[in-house]
Amino acid sequence: MAETNDLKYADVHRDVVRSIVETGPRYYVALAIAFGITLLCFFFPWFYQLYYGIGAAGMNHPGVWGTYLASFIFWIGLSHSGTLLSCVLHLTNSTWRKAMYRSAEAMTLFSLMVAATMVMVHLGRPWFIHWALPYPNQMEMWPNFRSPLLFDVMAITTYLTGSSIFIYMGSIPDFAAVRDRTSGWRNHMYSLLSLGWRGTDKEWHRLHWAYTFLAVLIIPLAVSVHSIVSWDFAMSIVPALHQTIFAPYFVVGAIYSGTAGIVTVMFVLRKYMNFEQYITEVHFNNLGKLLLLLSLIWTYINVVELFTGWYSGTSTEHEALKYKLFGYYALLYWEMIAFCAVAPLLCIFKRFRTSLVPMLILSIMINIGMYTERFLIVGTSLSRQYLPDAWGLYVPSLVEISILLGSLALFVTLFLLFVKIFPSVSMYEVKETMDTPKTEPVAPSEGSPA
């Protein structure tokens, strides 16, 4: 790649190791703030809710699904582009993936962790979470495998396991490289993590195949995960939810918000970890094109959803549509359309795609829009079902809003810890994109065999 041509292998090594071992005061301040907000806005309200009961949240009949589940879908969605995009770009040999995929995969991992925590928060009695797992127990209670909720448990467990393994496997050579340049506890940690990797031709060969097989397995897995999340809703007979288009709608939405998330993370890494030479305008340009394509598909699915609802001619679907477009939450709907369908059209222009700050703003707008989409699906559908006398309104309580903000801080905290443990740019893959060093010719030695 042209942008790394003036760099040497040792420069890459030095820069990435520096990003791990050299920590300035700004990092500690950021970590302290993120951790403080996590404690204050996430764990404290959660304990409050556990102590006083689930009534502390704004959920009540008929709106028994609230922002916790919207956040769950949002975080699962955000997790989608990291590993999925990395796998697709790995299999298609895209070189521009190499500088950014490690952080994108980390985003997947931490989003999934936050998503799993949101389920715990929604449960009310999270200490019974193990009841959803199939294991022999004295109550003779086994989960019902016909329920989409159980599909969810299996899919997310598999995805979390697969994503963790995928990011770890890809990092083994880099752990070994960092191991040799560190001392003390860091050296012990990287010695353990690198498993004695030496970079022999045999090890590279095995890693290549294992990594490729994992990529092949993870792509269909990622598609299945968000399809299954959509079935939590689409398999019910609630108006506006019971639609066949929900699985592709969720998958596209997930990849869309995940790609926007990658743009945000890339911007922050580039600016604050000094990776300007590795994360370049090329990455933003390519991600911008991807965002444009995804926004068009997402818009198309939204139009189809409206059209089929209208064409069904059923009064419940018409009512749900009317409520969505002009009802109590209509402002949120139009905000979502403006942020996710209209604003990304700016990505048509190359000048916009290669302007970093506007791309950052767009990526944040898209994710606000995508959160709104999830809120509208989850929070408003149950409150407006078949019988008008059972209609209600759902408005999130302060505890719920605080936990939503806290979940963001939790994600940031985990990510900040990640950048000091994992090499956030894949050293060996960036080196692969550079020209290999040439050997200067030497005179043959005396007595060499003919």
Binding site: W197, G199, D201, F213, T439
Partner: protein, 170 residues
Amino acid sequence: MTNIAVGVFHGPESALVAAGTLKGAGFATLELMSPIPIEGVEEVLGERKSVIKHFTFFGGLIGGISGFLLAAGTAVLWAHPTGGRPIITIPPFLIITYELTILFGILFTVLGFFISARLPAIRERVYVPESAVDKFVVTVACDNDEDFKRAEAILRDAGVEQVRELAEEG
């Protein structure tokens, strides 16, 4: 005692030339260490075959069978008749089967990688830390001093930067 000749190269091409010549000269125990995977290794050192794909396949198979048995077994042992529908309901159980196929496929792939790449390393092995940064290293096991000299000459001819001698119990 077996001596190991270690040749440290600046670039991959010369390391590959050295490895190919050493192989042609009858040195059987050869290793290349590099900061990146080197293209064209198989043409020089011979095609490498990996057993990982078998692990992935059988892992997936075991996962699929266990997934279906888990869901179907649970349904049969704790029967929950719903509106006269079958106890073993194929469509939802296929989803559990699908997920566990992938889960076990992933886990067995990792197992296959560890076994075939001989990781984690239990005992200490020859390693040159520069090879993780920017050097390309060829290591070759030599049975005696004469072999070592021959190997050293081949390495020097290929343009080695530095030759080192390591002793290994053997």
